[in-house]
């Protein structure tokens, strides 16, 4: 009898440990990830531990043994901020790669991201997200539901910004025109949709000077009608990081 009790107790202990381990490594769906609050009951900011499985879509530069990576699964997108990894590991993370990510859900100026993350590569068929057409959501509260996703904006008209000398310009190097060609500065340009103007960015660590999209924006003229694709980054509001610009179809 004693032996049976001892065996039952051991089994219970093992089962509890296994359950605990499973609980710690529980992979969240995107809906579960989004539902995790960023504040506690008292309204204090908190960061919660998360594990998700997702696919690399684009890499926003490796620097100081860290990288910023856009990832997306079938049910939603995640931005990995400053994930520690070596240059070799970074190079191995090609778009389409499936990874399991463990880190903390956090928010910075409205951008929901996973910080202090670790990852492991999973065996799987590559997944490349299709751009979601978010044109109709521009200026609406629903746009944020697609934060960090690959999105498209179609049929917008390039409108003028003012350069440092007060002249019309189709785009600026840096937000205020303080940059110049040859410096790998971010590009900023304004596009009008349905009478409202929105600012779009080519983030130079995501798409550096010399890439197709960088050259396409440098070639823009006021009045051009264009289709764009990019990742829906957030900085106190929508701040799409554009990866493709083409003449509207």
């Amino acid at each position: 009898m004693k032996k049976l009790i001892a065996i039952a107790l051991m089994l219970a202990v093992f089962a509890s440990c296994a359950a605990l381990a499973e609980e710690e490594a529980k992979v969240l769906t995107h809906a579960e990830f989004i539902a995790l609050p960023l504040e506690d009951e008292a309204g204090q900011a908190i960061e919660q531990e998360v594990t998700v499985e997702t696919y690399v879509q684009a890499k926003q530069g490796w620097w100081d043994n860290k990288a910023r990576i856009y990832t997306q699964a079938e049910d939603g997108a995640y931005f990995l901020y400053d994930m520690p990894l070596s240059q070799e590991e970074y190079d191995a993370l090609v778009p389409g790669t499936k990874i399991r990510v463990h880190g903390y859900k956090s928010q910075w100026s409205g951008e929901v991201e996973i910080i202090d993350a670790t990852y492991e590569i999973l065996e799987a068929e590559p997944f490349f997200a299709e751009a979601f057409d978010a044109t109709a959501l521009l200026g609406t509260d629903e746009l944020i539901d697609h934060q960090n996703e690959l999105v498209s904006f179609k049929g917008g008209k390039v409108v003028a910004k003012k350069d440092v000398n007060g002249n019309d310009a189709a785009f600026l190097y840096n937000w205020d025109g303080s940059g110049a060609a040859g410096n790998n500065n971010d590009l900023y340009f304004d596009v009008e949709f349905n009478g409202a103007t929105y600012t779009f960015t080519v983030e130079s660590y995501l798409c550096a000077e010399g890439t197709d999209v960088y050259k396409a924006v440098e070639a823009l003229k006021v009045g051009d009608v264009i289709d764009m694709e990019g990742f829906l980054y957030w900085y106190d509001g929508a701040n799409p990081h554009i990866t493709s610009v083409k003449a509207a179809e």
């Binding site: 204090q44 900011a45 908190i46 205020d176 110049a180 106190d236 509001g237």
Partner: protein
Amino acid sequence: MKNVIRYLALALLLVLCLTLTGCHGSQDSSAFVIPQTFDTGRNYEVTFWAKNDTNKTQTAVYEKAIADFQALYPNIKVNMRLYSDYSRIYNDVITNIATNTTPNVCITYPDHIATYLTGNNVMAPLDDLFSDPRYGLGGSELKFDGPTRAEVVPQFLDECIINGHYYALPYMRSTEACYINKTYVEKLGYTVPDVLTWDWIWEVADAATAKGEDGNYLINGQKVMIPFIYKSTDNMMIQLLRQSGGGYSTENGKIQIFNDVTREHLKTVAAHVKTGAFSTFKISSYPGNFLNAGQCIFAIDSTAGATWMGTDAPLMDIAADKVVPFETVVRPIPQIDPAHPQMISQGPSICVFNKKDPQEVLASWLFAQFLITNEVQISYAETEGYSPVTLKAQQTPEYQDYLARSGEDNNEHYYVKIDATKLLIDHTADTFVTPVFNGSASLRDAAGQLIEEVAKGVRRRKTVDDAFITSLYDQINSLYRLDQIGAAAGEGDKDASDMGPLPGTAVTLLAALVAVWLLMGLYVLKNALKKRKSS
């Protein structure tokens, strides 16, 4: 006997050769030597890596400076590459040292120069250039009215000494300031003192976290309020340690930061993160954005960020409809001892890289020096809360007039910007810098990371106690390899009695010297005995 003398002489010569070989200097044949004259019959290209604060006026100042310089020296073409981040310049320089493609001149921090100096003759030492009567500071052959050495603020110039030599010129100087929503402070029933203390700022920040029944903060009626946000936690820890007498590092790089004073500061930070009174730029966002939206009361940032601070700030990073009207006042950072304020001195410096062609280095030096002439200094300083680095520029009627016109408009004479500038000028004697050594940049990062990790620990509902901090010390020590830096520097801090066994080469050398002296002694003794016998 002649043979014995020959052998002795040969042995001595060998020992001397060995001795001299052991004392080789760090410089090789490519060390920079100032040319007798600057060859104006040749053309030069000077690559200049500059940093601006993503500010178009600063870009314009650089461009004008280059145009003016090229007009004076038509044989020198300056090619500028603009960065908006010091650490990116640092990274690119490190990468380019390996391929001998460093720029000629670059804007940098002394911590970074200490790393550049680990390469052989990568940098041009400026000691001799400073004092050269022709091309040095205020030199007779300059085609511009540059400052003399005495006209550069001595404290700022001293900050450019690394390993006992000048390796940079100061370009701009700033410190940190506390930008305060005075309206909210008074609404909470407090008065802003001339010198803030840490105790006072924590008290007011905690008071501002009170909420109403609707869950909104009482002070602003909004869902968001972070009363105290610090932009650079590196500086926060460095200044806290300086003010409290806690160790940071020795002059030659022995790491002292993992101590009990630091531990107490971290516990204080944790307590106020827990109340919701405190956060950091890395965790929340730019202090100025929260300040201008009425969601922060104390925003600590560089004086070089003053144009982004306050309701009427000329530069704004939030939508106009989110800006809340309030009165902004500027104070030095909080102090532990208000009678003896201490604050960091920071800001960009200019370094010159060594090249095979000394004429090219001289051309680079001329341009570097041109950047501290009055017009460049004054126009760049006025773009932000910077101070010119020369007394010559500070004392011009033009600059004094600029300071006197504070508040006349919300652009060039924006009062918050000018108040921030005056803060530094008035407190120059209260500023300090941290020791510079190979690895000091890592120590600086580690200092800030201690605060960030403690703040994140609280947000992750961890218990921030002694055990947490002890574990954090180990992690940070390892992550930033401070144990290696400390071990290397620690050798220099030891007593002579504790220097361990002599290296094998030294033992051989000393043994050889002893043997030679013994042979010489024997020879003298033998001669003396011989003379005695013969007499």
